[in-house]
């Protein structure tokens, strides 16, 4: 059904003026195969059964919804953390890779490729490939290989081949370019597991559907805890936008729920070293979809910057571009320094070390005018084990007294 007021994807693969599939002919057959089959495959009872049982027994879902007392007091609202960090492999990314590996099997694909920034999606892909005994190749920017070294080791331990992307700023965008080129070269036998709500239609919608379990659980968990089935706010960090899409999904058309995105300002929005796509970006095409991206007047993509590898991306998923442009979601940008403050604060006050990406969602809490009995859900998208080296170096460099 096409509904112009919908925040869901349209029949043609669009979210308002964003989305679509702008791909060279070499990828048409593959993307078309997924587009024509994904909804039917996902709806099959045996798919649903396998998906749900893996999420429960393998991933460890449902992930807890935890009322964080100290930060609730600090910000003057009931702040719940949706503990995606407690999933197997340590982030929300595995919800999507479980779904896509089951799809890949049903499409008869023998070879799996993925891009990764922070390495969480790479680890989640390597994990499901080990589980399903499929070949796994992960593209990762050379800069990210250094700053997220623990995840590189995990991928190797799981039997995946990690291939460095050496072009551009050697980060997530460049890893995605390399993965797409691999897909063109090996289209017939390969499924590309995109790790965020980006790429040509139907990827943003497919990834969103696999992540939608997050908001589905928030609904009943919050009801159990508060008697209300909806929060007043849902807050998530946004790189490409998969954890945010999952946390928002069941509330998209519920006007009682304010949707908040946190993007990476890097060294500051106007510093020339930023990944604040919604502010610095304009409408254009990146990785096969129409969305907001950082680019020059000539349409050249601008290299982004964020201390956080998972948010260091010059685009944003088309669903979020639409949510932002239509006013349904509000975006705040947090700098590296603000995110680091939030990391230290959550570690010390709640005993939870968040991923650097996730910390951006925590860093903007003081800018939102909460009312005292507001129920606020922050999607705690991942844990910070992978970032410990970055954290300790930062603390030392900035002579922070703990």
């Amino acid at each position: 059904m096409s509904n112009n007021n919908s925040y869901h994807v349209s029949e043609s693969g669009h979210y308002g003026e964003f989305g679509g599939a702008y791909i060279p002919e070499m990828l048409y057959a593959n993307v078309e195969e997924i587009r024509t089959k994904y909804l039917d495959i996902i709806a099959e009872p045996d798919f649903q059964e396998e998906f749900n049982s893996l999420l429960k027994d393998y991933v460890g879902r449902p992930s807890p919804l935890y009322l964080a007392k100290t930060i609730s007091e600090k910000y003057g609202a009931n702040i719940y953390l949706k503990r995606e960090d407690l999933n197997h492999t340590g982030a929300h990314k595995i919800n999507n890779t479980i779904g896509q590996i089951l799809l890949a099997k049903r499409l008869g694909k023998k070879r799996i490729i993925a891009e990764t920034g922070a390495g969480q999606h790479g680890v989640a892909t390597a994990t499901v490939c080990a589980l399903m005994n499929l070949e796994c190749i992960v593209y990762m920017g050379a800069v990210d290989i250094v700053r997220q070294a623990p995840n590189v080791a995990r991928m190797q331990m799981l039997g995946a081949k990690v291939v460095p992307a050496e072009s551009g700023s050697k980060t997530l965008k460049d890893a995605t370019n390399e993965a797409i080129r691999d897909w063109i070269n090996n289209a017939e036998i390969t499924h590309y597991i995109i790790g965020s709500a980006i790429g040509p239609h139907p990827y943003p919608d497919m990834v969103t559907r696999f992540q939608a379990i997050v908001s589905e659980e928030i609904q009943w968990q919050l009801k159990e805890k508060t008697g209300k089935d909806h929060p007043d706010y849902v807050i998530a960090c946004v790189g490409g936008g998969s954890n945010a899409a999952g946390a928002f999904y069941h509330f998209l058309h519920d006007d009682r729920v304010k949707l908040i995105l946190a993007e990476a300002a890097g060294k500051g929005i106007d510093s020339g070293h930023s990944a604040a796509t919604s502010i610095l970006g304009t409408k254009g095409i990146i990785h096969g979809c129409m969305t907001l991206l950082m680019q020059t007047a000539d349409g050249q993509i601008v290299e982004p910057y964020s201390l956080s590898a998972g948010l260091d991306y010059p685009g944003i998923g088309p669903m979020h571009a639409h949510l932002i442009k239509s006013g349904r979601a509000t975006v705040y940008a947090a700098t590296d320094d603000e995110a680091m403050q939030a990391v230290i604060q959550l570690s010390r006050s709640e005993g939870i070390i968040p991923a650097l990406e996730t910390a951006h969602a925590l860093a903007i809490l003081d800018r939102i005018p909460f009312k005292e009995d507001d129920n606020v859900v922050v999607n705690l998208s991942g844990r910070g084990d992978k970032d410990l080296n970055t954290y300790l170096t930062y603390i030392e460099d900035h002579k922070i007294q703990l």
């Binding site: 702008y22 060279p24 070499m26 370019n177 080129r181 095409i285 000539d298």
Partner: protein, 258 residues
């Protein structure tokens, strides 16, 4: 001036279309290379607009694009290059780039400026045929801009007919399912695919590209279509060239049958 399609149809076979990235190795080289190609008897020039993120391109074109952008290449400058050589040379020129470049420049302004500079055709590999037909075909017709769509070994018959119908320059037959610059030789499977397209009685002339790099691969392209498109192999010879004209002559003789 003759259209690209007329040029191909009149000569009929052994068409040679040479691709290179505008602004590589240097900004100044673009006009010299175009003139030199025309003077050496090349039939068609395919001018690449360097892009920051060329998804369908292999390492050679990635590198040439990066260098061209570092040299400060812009779309306006490419239009100016073409305008300049039009004073002396009539060789048909088709420009190839990514859809985002055309959109950011402004689609109508882009097509109109390309036309005014003397560019006769465009290849935009990531512009979907459906979008072209819905939003841009009328503009292309208005500005007498020709277009070529790509087909690959994975393209269905139905889509090959669609690409044939919408292409006003030639139909671009991508020789293998790969990015540009792959030189793995031509398999029996590929020959069967070329043969199948040949027997479809398409209305457009056809050129085979991707992986054409020597006499043998060019001969195959000539046999199964109206001719060949050579890109990465040519760009590689330019990389260390001191004398573009001499480099181009020796490269062309490598592609000629005895």
């Amino acid at each position: 001036m003759k259209t690209i399609r007329q040029t191909i149809i009149e000569k009929g076979n052994n068409i040679l279309n040479v691709y290179f990235t505008a602004g590589h190795p240097t900004l100044e080289s673009t006009e010299i290379i175009m003139k030199s190609l025309a003077d050496t008897g090349v039939d068609l020039i395919e001018l690449g607009m360097p892009y920051s993120d060329p998804l369908a391109d292999g390492p050679t074109i990635q590198r040439s694009s990066e260098i061209a952008l570092k040299n400060g290449q812009t779309i306006s400058n490419i239009f100016q290059n073409v305008k300049n050589i039009r004073k002396t040379h009539q060789i048909p020129i088709i420009m190839m780039g990514y859809f985002n470049q055309m959109l950011q420049y402004g689609a109508e302004r882009f097509i109109s400026d390309a036309h005014l500079s003397g560019i006769q055709g465009l290849i935009i590999p990531d512009m979907p045929m459906e979008i072209y037909e819905r939003d841009y075909q009328n503009l292309f017709i208005e500005y007498q801009m020709e277009i070529s769509f790509l087909v690959t070994p994975m393209t269905s018959h139905e889509r090959i007919f669609q690409a044939d119908r919408l292409s006003s320059a030639f139909l671009y037959i991508v020789s293998q399912s790969s990015i540009t610059g792959n030189q793995s030789g031509i398999s029996d499977e590929q020959l069967a695919y070329f043969g199948a397209i040949q027997s479809m009685n398409l209305q457009s002339p056809t050129l085979i590209g991707f992986g054409i790099h020597d006499k043998e691969t060019r001969e195959i392209a000539n046999k199964y279509s109206n001719g060949a498109i050579v890109g990465s192999a040519f760009i590689r010879t330019l990389e260390n060239s001191k004398d573009y004209s001499a480099t181009i002559q020796s490269f062309m003789s490598r592609l000629e049958s005895q």
